[in-house]
């Protein structure tokens, strides 16, 4: 929010992080519409994942983690819902039953004590080794984003080379579709 503009009535609201699940027609340009909406209107994207979920129906699910004041979050949902190819927007955070996971591949290089320590920590975080050389590993880890943050942080001093994350995939708990 640009505070040099007209003072905003809702400026005193504090920002919240929400996970939105957006079911869209899998047609060309639909991702550009969603991403363009966020950049054009100045909203944050913290994480974005897209994949076709129902092939016969041509449906994709876009999972977006975003932050904003409650009024901005409401605006984001309404703006998304207004896009013609959007079937529905579900705010998984509001339903309170969000199950959100991420996968990361993490490359660590090292020998001796650092290498052993990295392996030990990998074990503790239930990370799997999916590639190994005498001087490196690639770990595969899934979990909540903060767990991955923590693991990546620990690998830093132990020879972290690079890592790649999928972004969040999310769904609601319980028997109902969201």
């Amino acid at each position: 929010m640009n505070t040099t503009h007209y003072p905003s009535a809702h400026i005193f609201q504090s920002p919240e992080t929400h996970t939105l699940s957006v079911v869209v027609d899998n047609e060309p340009g639909v991702l550009a519409r969603v991403v363009g909406l966020f950049s054009g209107r100045g909203y944050n994207i913290e994480s974005l994942t897209v994949s076709e979920t129902e092939h016969e129906k041509h449906l994709s699910r876009i999972t977006i983690v975003t932050t904003g004041t409650p009024m901005v979050i409401e605006q984001i949902k309404n703006q998304l819902d207004r896009l013609v190819p959007v079937h529905r927007v579900v705010d998984l955070t509001v339903s309170g039953k969000v199950l959100a996971r991420e996968l990361a591949l993490i490359k660590v290089k090292g020998k001796g004590e650092a290498r052993v320590e990295a392996l030990r920590l990998g074990d503790a975080f239930r990370a799997r080794v999916v590639d190994a050389t005498t001087e490196s590993f690639v770990f595969e880890i899934t979990g909540k984003s903060d767990k991955i943050d923590e693991f990546v942080g620990l690998m830093g001093p132990l020879g972290l080379v690079e890592y790649s994350r999928t972004g969040v995939a999310a769904i609601s708990r319980g028997p109902e579709a969201s």
Partner: protein
């Protein structure tokens, strides 16, 4: 009924099936197959503009003055990019348009082919939706879907980009029936609980005001009738945005005039002091709210809008009603009549006394002159001359536009075409062309500024070609007056690049283009020359030479609240009323 035909034939068939009578366009390589089909038929009249921006504004004028969808056809590349300003204008003002663009053949897309541009990429943020049609099988569906999306819900412009090979390809055409959109289903009926709550709030209010906008016009003439009924039944005051003028009769005693930055004192003060605002199809634009933290501090708010994203966007409201103005007002009137709310008549009378007190301030007053024409006076004389006539107004953008909103009277919807959201200089002439195409017998007047007309004046040539007797009434102050006014307010009167040097001789210009030019320099000549302008059955440029120094008041300077207005006669030096923070604003 389904038939075999080419893509180009389908375009014309679909336009006809959708009831399009007029198509505004400009040819080029990638739309030639469609132009060939235009040549072979007579049902759709094609208007050849002089610039694609003009085609879109003309379609906007046509659409706004008829309630129908405007139709545009342009070529790929520069044709499409020239249309972008018009599309953005239509998006911001919620005008339904279908714009068909030609595209290079599918196998060349992505190769930087001649006159190729990423039309769907470029127009994605300035349309309600757009399509690139890659297969002939999809074309009939998309053509009909496009009209549906353009006109339903919150109206807006859409683009259909059709590669040339798809125009040549043959496929099966089917008509518009039984097409239901997979995802797009706007809600028109309002929630009854919310409507009942709103009526209750209406009944309890002591200082209520209706704040109405373009959504009433979008909803159709019936919505204006219902608005009149509800406002008269309640006896409450009403104000309108620039976009909503005409939905409620301008000379009715309950109408307080336009609100906002250049609105009346009574409208803005009533908003500021109200205890209930009933927003009907308006979107709390920043020209209206001014300082948000000082906006209508005591008011509860009801907001009727078809677009959920307009609600709680800028101002948090107490009673949101998502639905079409016409549908919701009908329900509100029914509930009002059946519940007969017990209105506090004494409180409402006191409220009107307060309002009358503000009215008595006569905020639109200006110092008239015998020597030099005041723009306000010119408009008052024009208003007098068109009284009782079947008249439509368009405008350009600037001071003249605001004076037109203040000094002309609008009694019916769809008679006032102006670029509000985008504020596009150059809108008025092509829009007038579109309006006159739809209403050949009516008087169509573009209230213009001398700088604005230079942006799209080539469309005068279009008016001449199609014998459209539009009147371009230029309030010629030799300045980009609105810019000059802001430079006085914010930049120490340093008139950087806001003087109109090297203006054409508008009388000769009119003559050269095949129209009629009239110049008026004295207040005493106004009536006779306006009468002459109206009598001429050809396009006219009326060069009304006005006071170059006049400013547009009242004005709420940026960053100020509704109760901090500036007035015409009191302002001597307007140089230091805006603080540093206000200077950042637009």
């Amino acid at each position: 009924m389904s038939r075999q035909m080419t893509g180009a034939e389908m375009v014309i068939a679909a336009l006809q099936d959708q009831g399009v009578e007029v198509l505004f366009g400009y040819p080029g390589g990638s739309v030639l197959p469609i132009y060939d089909e235009i040549f072979k038929q007579e049902k759709i009249k094609h208007v050849l503009v002089r610039h694609e921006q003009g085609a879109v504004h003309a379609a906007e004028g046509y659409a706004r003055s008829t309630g129908k969808v405007g139709a545009v056809l342009v070529t790929s590349g520069p044709g499409a990019t020239n249309a972008v300003t018009g599309l953005t204008d239509a998006l911001l003002d919620s005008i339904p348009l279908v714009c068909i663009t030609g595209q290079v053949p599918t196998h060349l897309i992505g190769n930087d082919a001649f006159q190729e541009c990423d039309t769907v990429g470029i127009t994605r943020p300035c349309t309600k939706h757009n399509w690139l049609v890659k297969r002939i099988e999809d074309l009939p569906r998309i053509l009909h879907e496009a009209f549906h999306v353009a006109k339903s819900g919150r109206p807006g412009p859409v683009v259909i980009d059709i590669p040339k090979d798809v125009q040549f390809a043959t496929g099966t055409y089917h008509g518009p029936k039984n097409i239901q959109h997979k995802t797009y289903r706007p809600k028109v009926k309002g929630d009854m609980d919310a409507i009942r709550q709103a009526v209750q709030m209406l009944g309890k209010a002591h200082r209520p005001i209706f704040y109405t906008g373009g959504g009433v016009i979008n909803s159709g003439p019936h919505a204006s009738q219902l608005l009149r009924e509800l406002v008269r039944t309640t006896g409450y005051p009403i104000t309108s945005t620039l976009m909503g003028l005409g939905a409620y009769p301008g000379n009715d005693a309950q109408f307080l005039g336009m609100l906002g930055m250049h609105g009346t004192l009574e409208a803005n003060m009533a908003m500021h002091e109200s205890d209930l605002i009933i927003c009907v199809g308006a979107r709390f634009d920043d020209r209206i709210t001014g300082r948000l933290d000082a906006f209508a501090p005591h008011a509860k708010k009801i907001h009727i809008d078809i677009d959920p994203s307009s609600i709680n966007k800028i101002i948090k409201v107490d009673c949101p009603i998502v639905g079409d103005v016409g549908h919701v007002l009908e329900d509100m009137i029914r509930v009002w009549k059946s519940t007969q709310p017990d209105v506090d008549k004494k409180a409402i009378r006191k409220w009107w006394e307060k309002i009358d007190h503000w009215r008595a301030r006569k905020c639109l007053a200006y110092r008239n002159s015998d020597e030099i024409i005041k723009p306000q006076y010119a408009l008052q004389r024009l208003q007098e001359a068109v009284k009782g006539k079947d008249v439509y107004f368009t405008t350009e953008v600037g001071q003249h536009q605001m004076w037109a909103a203040q000094f002309l009277t609008f009694d019916e919807p769809n008679r006032w075409m102006t670029s509000g959201g985008l504020g596009t200089m150059g809108y008025g002439i092509p829009a007038a062309v579109g309006v006159q195409m739809a209403h050949p017998k009516s008087l169509v007047i573009d209230i213009a500024g001398e700088a604005s007309v230079m942006m799209t004046m080539q469309e005068i040539s279009t008016a001449v070609q199609y014998r459209l007797p539009i009147k371009i009434f230029i309030l010629n102050n030799h300045y980009m007056g609105m810019v000059r006014q802001w430079q006085e307010l914010l930049h120490g009167g340093r008139y950087s690049e806001s003087y109109s040097h090297a203006l054409p001789d508008f009388v000769k210009l009119a003559d050269a283009m095949g129209g009629v030019g009239i110049r008026c320099e004295k207040p005493s000549e106004l009536d006779a020359k306006i009468a002459e302008m109206i009598a001429v059955d050809r396009p006219v440029i009326f060069d009304c030479v006005v006071d170059p120094a006049e400013n547009c008041f009242p004005m709420i300077p940026s960053g100020k609240a509704h109760n901090e207005m500036l007035f015409g006669e009191t302002v001597e030096d307007i140089g230091d009323v805006i603080d540093e923070k206000g200077k950042m604003l637009v």
